[in-house]
Amino acid sequence: MSPEAIIDGLFAGSVYALVALALTIVFQPTRIMNFAQGEAVILGAAAAYQIVALEKLGWVVTLGVTIVLAALMGLLMERMIMLPVRMSGSRYAWIIATLAAALIFQSLFNLAFIDVDALRPNPVIAGGFQVAGITVEWQEALTIVVALVVMAGYDLFLRRSVYGRAIRATAHSSDTSVLMGIPVQRIVVLSFVIGAVITAVAGMLAAPVIFVAPATGLMFTIKGFTAAVIGGVGSPRGALVGGMIVGVLDTVVRSLVGGSVGNFAVFAALAVILVVFPSGLFGKPMEAH
């Protein structure tokens, strides 16, 4: 195993951590595990591919377009998921609605990029640098830094700002929050938008290095979900740690044994962790809903 594998793992881990964070952000006020979350990764990757690789425009344009598109996607997702969930009343409504949303986005991406195998634009910063004999690609370093900044920023936002406090209150009890005058509906919409933007940025940064195909959204959701569960759903720090564990475990096992054993290791780890710690490594028990 080369030390580069660890760096690759940390890089992949920061992508999963961002997805996990987004899942957590949506989960907290809505109690919904959004199976469509990973589709935003594809959105980010597709935007980068379209703008950088095909249109030959700069990364600044890409970032702007991605954020706008992702915000729209978040708004759309909120309608697509929350409306059926509210109107249905079935206890399984959330999973069906989010899976349906995932299906819809997936088929849209498939239709738009029908002959594209991998959405792979050029990296933001080409090349790499050497630290103590280990080659680190700039793109990987950049992604890890962005992930850390986003995590820290969201943690700060959650703890320090009024809005953050409102979100935390909503996470505890949305009914009580309504009584306290917190605009729960607005917070739900905001959560979907923030979640989609974060995930799309992750996808945009990951695309030059990781394999992202138009139909791989669900895989990113599942990996991100694994990260969130390992870290304990509901905490940004847990998402970070969980993401890193998933990423490193995946790449290291892959480079040691090879092939898709990496996936196997990750899901086996998820199963074991859930069996031994039914509420994740750092989380509080998630009540059944």
Binding site: L218, T226, L274, H289
Partner: protein
């Protein structure tokens, strides 16, 4: 939902009641039409190969479509059993199908065994995989259970990709064909095999759901606490149901492999599994025929848009979202809840309570003198630093009504939960008729102690009668196989149970509401029904936690009457109550709790005059006078 819809018909007076849809004639006609439709559907399915042969040059293609849909329907039935009736969110059904497919593929192609053997192996593999997953995830709650099954699904796929000698790796196994002797069975013959399997799966689902096994699973779905109080072991009920689901899913995997001739890891992908979710929700979850209708609908739709195949996923996704909003209960569920499709309910009558006590009411005889029916000694229970119970002794004798009273927060309900093993006690002993109480809550119920909870814990989505029948689960002696095959012993027991349940309901004045949904009862009726359900489990000790709260005086009388009857029959009745008049009039003995300690015990008269009790309830009158 059904209740909300069915209410106006009762409350709305003649205008609504006189509607055509509620007349007997309409219901008879509807039944006939539905029966004819069912017969036609079955006939068309049976004659399908002949029909396609006659009308099309491409008969085998159309036969294949129906066969594939039938295979999907089998899997969806399994999913319905697990999610709809068992409340277990399973995301590994496509994985189970894959595992089943591998078993058949390996046996038929690699070992050149018989395809029947392959089918048997698939069922076994599906069952074992499902049981393993359930066993490791017994502690997981609803959402996490779904996630563990998701992980398990991915693991099955990964195993399929890596274990090349058996599964053929990414390419999979191909050339799987059902053969009799040296000859390969014709597609047309196999079509009938698939159809027979679908019928089998449907009958299995129907018989299982309508038996005590299914009622136990539904009880666990609604609340595992209540199920335990009925003597149902939640873990065993879940394990049984999920194992059956696994077997059915394995069967569909075998058929899939035999029908298409190949099996590869992609079959197990969640993306492919979504179609079963869509079918289930479109057709109607927790309905018997819903999965079949839903899958049939989707198969027809996919066939219609096959020229635009790349839009299929998009159309399915949009369809699913729209269906959730427009018909949240699926096609069958919405039909059943609509004015056109709902069942006729008997008119509620004001019933006169029968004077004779039916034999169904249990009797406790041959109890040795001086042995307490339920005894707790030195029970200590801490919650963190709070001493909820601090060395409580309580003895409840058979043939008495025993009241446990005390101010709010004095530990009454905690005591009940400790006695019935819902809480682990920190110190002390619980004995039932002189023997140590079992350690699991459902074991306590088996030992003869049944509790009724403080807040109503009815199974709201099933009928009043089914609620009572669920209470009888403990004494059903047939196995699930007997229930599925409708063995003579099962039928005998089932008939007897239904008779007894109706007698009990009549005794409680609920007979005319037996077929109503439990959720449509008033609060008082619900409480009464809960007591009836508990009585149906033939307890020796019946614990009622605040049964009188919110009852009208008539309902109070009915409850008091029931308690007295049970006492005469030799049962021990434990009443936890706030309503002092009710308790004083009914109880033979009282135990008074305050801050987790017993402050007084004895006859109502003694308790009424006790200084300690007065102080606990009212404060110390002498001090009050001094202050003023």
């Amino acid at each position: 939902m059904a209740t909300v819809d069915s209410r106006p018909a009762r409350a709305g007076g003649t205008a609504v009641r006189g509607s055509v849809f509620d007349s007997t004639g309409y219901h008879r006609a509807r039944k006939a039409v539905l029966a004819v439709l069912a017969v036609v559907a079955v006939a068309v399915l049976l004659a399908w190969p002949a029909i396609t042969d006659y009308y099309s040059y491409n008969a085998s293609y159309y036969d294949g479509i129906v066969a594939s849909a039938a295979i999907s329907a089998i899997l969806t039935i399994s999913l319905n059993l697990s999610m709809g009736y068992g409340g277990m969110l399973s995301m590994m059904h496509s994985g189970l199908q894959l595992a089943g497919g591998y078993a058949t593929g390996y046996l038929v192609v690699k070992l050149s065994g018989s395809w029947l053997l392959g089918v048997a192996a698939s069922v076994a593999v599906g069952t074992v995989v499902a049981m393993l997953v359930l066993l490791v995830s017994l502690r997981a709650t609803y959402l996490y259970f779904g996630m563990i099954t998701l992980a398990a699904n991915l693991i099955v796929i990964e195993v399929g990709r890596e274990w090349e000698p058996v599964t053929g790796g990414i390419v999979g196994v191909s050339g799987i064909a059902p053969s009799i002797g040296d000859e390969i069975m014709s597609k047309r013959a196999f079509y009938y095999v698939v159809l027979a399997c679908l019928a089998l799966a449907y009958v299995l689902q129907r018989n299982l759901v309508r038996s005590g096994v299914g009622r136990a699973s539904m009880a666990v779905r609604e609340s595992s606490d209540t199920a335990s109080a009925m003597g149902i072991s939640p873990s065993r009920a879940k394990l049984l149901l999920f194992a059956v689901c696994g077997g059915v899913a394995g069967l569909s995997g075998a058929l899939y492999a035999l029908q298409l001739g190949f099996i590869n890891p992609d079959v197990g992908l969640l993306d492919n599994g979504i179609i079963f979710f869509v079918g289930l929700f479109l057709g109607g979850i927790s309905t018997l025929i819903g999965p079949v209708i839903g899958v049939g609908f989707i198969a027809a739709l996919v066939e219609l848009i096959k020229d635009q195949a790349r839009y299929t996923t998009l159309v399915l996704g949009v369809l699913l979202l729209v269906a959730m909003m427009v018909i949240p209960q699926g096609i069958v569920g919405t039909w059943k809840a609509s004015r056109v499709g709902r069942d006729r309910l008997s008119e509620p009558e004001d019933e006169t309570l029968p004077d004779t006590v039916p034999d169904v009411v249990p009797e406790v005889r041959d109890v040795p003198d001086g042995v307490a029916a339920l005894e707790g000694s030195g029970i200590v229970k801490h919650f963190g630093g709070v001493h909820a119970l601090d060395g409580v002794d309580v003895r409840i004798m058979p043939g008495t009504v025993h009241g446990i009273i005390g101010p709010n927060g004095s530990g009454k309900s905690t005591l009940v939960s400790c006695l019935t093993r819902y809480h682990q006690i920190d110190a002390g002993q619980v004995r039932i008729f002189g023997e140590d109480a079992p350690h699991a809550a459902h074991g306590v119920a088996h030992a003869g102690v049944t509790r009724v909870f403080q807040v109503p814990h009815l199974f709201e989505r099933v009928s009043v009668l089914d609620n009572v029948l669920t209470g009888m689960r403990m004494r059903e002696s047939y196995s699930w196989v007997g229930a599925v095959l409708r063995s003579p012993s099962y039928r005998r027991q089932d008939r007897k149970e239904r008779e007894e349940a109706r007698e009990l309901l009549a005794f409680a004045g609920l007979a005319s509401r037996a077929d109503w949904l439990a959720s449509s009862l008033s609060h008082g009726q619900k409480r009464l029904l809960e007591v009836v359900r508990a009585v149906a489990s033939r307890p020796k000790v019946l614990i009622l936690d605040e049964p009188a709260t919110g009852l009208t005086s008539d309902e109070l009388d009915a409850l008091g009457r029931l308690c007295r009857v049970l006492r005469e029959r030799g049962l021990a009745v434990v009443l936890i109550e706030h309503n002092v008049d009710f308790v004083m009039g009914l109880c033979d003995e009282l135990t008074v709790l305050e801050s987790g300690k017993v402050i007084e015990r004895g006859t109502p008269e003694k308790v009424r005059n006790s200084a300690a009790v007065l102080e606990a309830y009212l404060g110390r009158p002498d001090l009050v006078e001094e202050a003023s």
